[in-house]
C-alpha cells in the first residue's frame, strides 16, 4: 500500500470544514433544547390519567422509536411543506426532524425517571400532608432528575451523531461541507478521514464527559 497522502487541499479549504463543524454544533444544540421542550410535553401527556392524552403520546413515541431518522428528515423536507403550504429550508426541516425524534426519546427518559421513584416516596409525601404538586416539586422530581441525567446525556450524544443526516438535505454541517471540499480537491481519502477524525474528537469529548458525570452521580447516590 503505497498511497501518497496529501492534506494540502484540505488545509487550503480548512475554513469550510470549520464552518461545517460550527453548523453541526449549532444544529445539535438547538435540537437538544427544542427536543427537551417536546419531550417534557409528551412525557406529561404520557403520564396523564386521561386516555385521550396518554394514547396519542404513546403512539408518537412508538412511531419515532420504530422508524429510521432519515425517513423523518426526508418527510419533513419534502412531504410536510405540501401539507402546510410553506417551504421549509434544510435547516428548519432538519431541526424539526431531530427535535421531534429526540423529543420522543427524551419523553421516555423523563417518564422513566418519574416512574422509577418508589411508591414509598409518594406514600410518605402524602402522609406528610403534601398535595400532588408539592410532592412532585419537593420529593419526586429532585430525585428523578438525578436518575435522568445519564440517559439524557446518552440520548443527546446519539442526537449529535444523527445530525450528520442533515447533510442529505444539503444543510451545511460537517459531512456536507466535507463533500463540498471533496468535490473541489478530489481527495476523498484525506477529506473523509479528516471528517471522521473531527467527528471523533467532538463525540469522544462528549462521551468522556458523559462517563465522568455518570461516575460522579453513581458515587453520590
Amino acid at each position: 500500500m503505497s498511497y501518497q497522502w496529501d492534506f494540502s487541499g484540505i488545509l487550503r479549504y480548512g475554513d469550510m470544514l470549520l464552518i461545517g463543524l460550527f453548523g453541526t454544533v449549532k444544529i445539535a444544540v438547538i435540537s437538544i433544547v427544542l427536543g427537551v421542550v417536546v419531550g417534557l410535553l409528551v412525557a406529561l401527556l404520557r403520564l396523564s390519567s386521561n386516555p385521550w392524552a396518554r394514547k396519542p403520546a404513546g403512539a408518537f413515541i412508538e412511531f419515532y422509536r420504530n422508524t429510521p431518522p432519515i425517513v423523518h428528515f426526508f418527510w419533513f423536507f419534502y412531504a410536510l411543506p405540501i401539507l402546510i403550504c410553506v417551504n421549509l429550508d434544510p435547516f428548519a426541516a432538519a431541526v424539526l426532524a431531530l427535535s421531534t425524534q429526540s423529543g420522543a426519546f427524551y419523553a421516555e427518559v423523563f417518564r422513566g425517571g418519574i416512574v422509577s421513584i418508589e411508591r414509598g416516596q409518594w406514600e410518605g409525601a402524602k402522609a406528610l400532608g403534601m398535595n400532588y404538586q408539592m410532592m412532585m416539586r419537593r420529593i419526586i422530581v429532585p430525585q428523578a432528575l438525578r436518575r435522568m441525567v445519564a440517559p439524557f446525556v446518552e440520548r443527546s450524544f446519539e442526537l449529535t451523531k444523527t445530525t450528520a443526516l442533515a447533510s442529505t438535505l444539503a444543510y451545511a454541517e460537517l459531512l456536507y461541507q466535507a463533500m463540498q471540499v471533496n468535490s473541489i480537491t478530489f481527495r476523498p481519502m484525506e477529506v473523509y478521514t479528516s471528517v471522521a477524525v473531527l467527528f471523533f474528537v467532538l463525540l469522544f469529548t462528549l462521551s468522556t464527559l458523559m462517563r465522568l458525570v455518570e461516575h460522579r452521580l453513581s458515587r453520590v447516590g
Binding site: 429510521p68 419534502y78 476523498p188 471522521a196
Partner: protein
C-alpha cells in the same frame, strides 16, 4: 388544507417498494450475522488479559461508536477503495460499514455479559480442570447468551433503522426506492409516508418482542 391524497402511485408501484423491502431485509440479515460473529471476537478480545489485544479492541469500539454511521458508510464507499485498490459496489460498502459498526456495539454487549458472570463460575470451571477456552465455551457463554438476548434484540432494531442510510450510497433498499418513486411521480407526501409506515411494520414487531422479553427476564431474576 385543500390537499387531496392520492395513493394510486404508491399502489401501482408497490412492487418497486417491495423489492426495496427485500434488499433491506437482506442487508439487515447479513450485517447482523457478520456483526454478531465479529462482535463476539471483539468482545473476547475486550476481556482478554493481553494488553495489546484489549487495547486494539477498545480503540476499534471507540472509533465506531464515536463517529456517525453515515460518515462510516461514506468513508467505506468513497475513501476505502483508494487503499483497497478496487471499487466496492454500494451494497458491499454498505454491508462492510454496517457490519463493522454493529460489531462494535455487539462487542460491548458481549463484554458486559461476560463480565457479569460471577467469579465463582470461573473458579468452579477451573476446579473441574477446564481451560480458559473450555470454561468460556461451556460455562460462561451459554449463561451469558440468555442474559444478553434483550440487548441483542435492541441492536437488531437499531441496525434495521440504520440500514436506511445505505440509500445515500444508492443501494436500492426501501428508502432509496421511496426517494426514487417520490421524485419520479412528484408525490413525496404519499410515498414517504408509506415508506415510514413500512419501516414501522418491519421494526415494531421486533421492539414489541424485545419489550416482552425484557419483562420476562426481569421477573425471572
Amino acid at each position: 388544507m385543500e390537499y387531496t391524497w392520492d395513493f394510486g402511485v404508491v399502489l401501482a408501484n408497490f412492487p418497486v417498494l417491495l423489492r426495496g423491502v427485500l434488499l433491506t431485509l437482506e442487508l439487515w440479515a447479513i450485517a447482523l450475522a457478520l456483526g454478531l460473529a465479529l462482535g463476539l471476537g471483539l468482545g473476547l478480545a475486550r476481556v482478554s488479559r493481553r494488553a495489546w489485544l484489549n487495547g486494539t479492541a477498545i480503540a476499534y469500539v471507540e472509533i465506531f461508536r464515536n463517529t456517525p454511521v453515515l460518515v462510516q458508510l461514506i468513508w467505506f464507499f468513497f475513501a476505502f477503495p483508494i487503499i483497497l485498490g478496487h471499487q466496492l459496489t454500494p451494497f458491499a460498502a454498505a454491508v462492510l460499514g454496517l457490519t463493522l459498526n454493529t460489531s462494535a456495539y455487539c462487542a460491548e454487549i458481549f463484554r458486559g455479559g461476560i463480565q457479569s458472570i460471577a467469579r465463582g463460575q470461573w473458579e468452579g470451571a477451573r476446579a473441574l480442570g477446564m481451560t480458559y477456552a473450555m470454561a468460556m465455551r461451556r460455562i460462561v457463554l451459554p449463561q451469558v447468551l440468555k442474559r444478553m438476548l434483550p440487548a441483542f434484540t435492541n441492536r437488531g432494531i437499531e441496525l434495521a433503522k440504520v440500514t436506511s442510510l445505505a440509500s445515500v450510497l444508492a443501494v436500492h433498499e426501501v428508502m432509496y426506492q421511496g426517494r426514487l418513486l417520490s421524485s419520479t411521480f412528484y408525490r413525496p407526501l404519499e410515498v414517504l409516508s408509506v415508506v415510514a409506515f413500512i419501516y414501522f411494520l418491519l421494526i415494531y414487531p421486533g421492539s414489541y418482542l424485545s419489550a416482552r422479553l425484557e419483562r420476562r427476564l426481569a421477573t425471572r431474576d
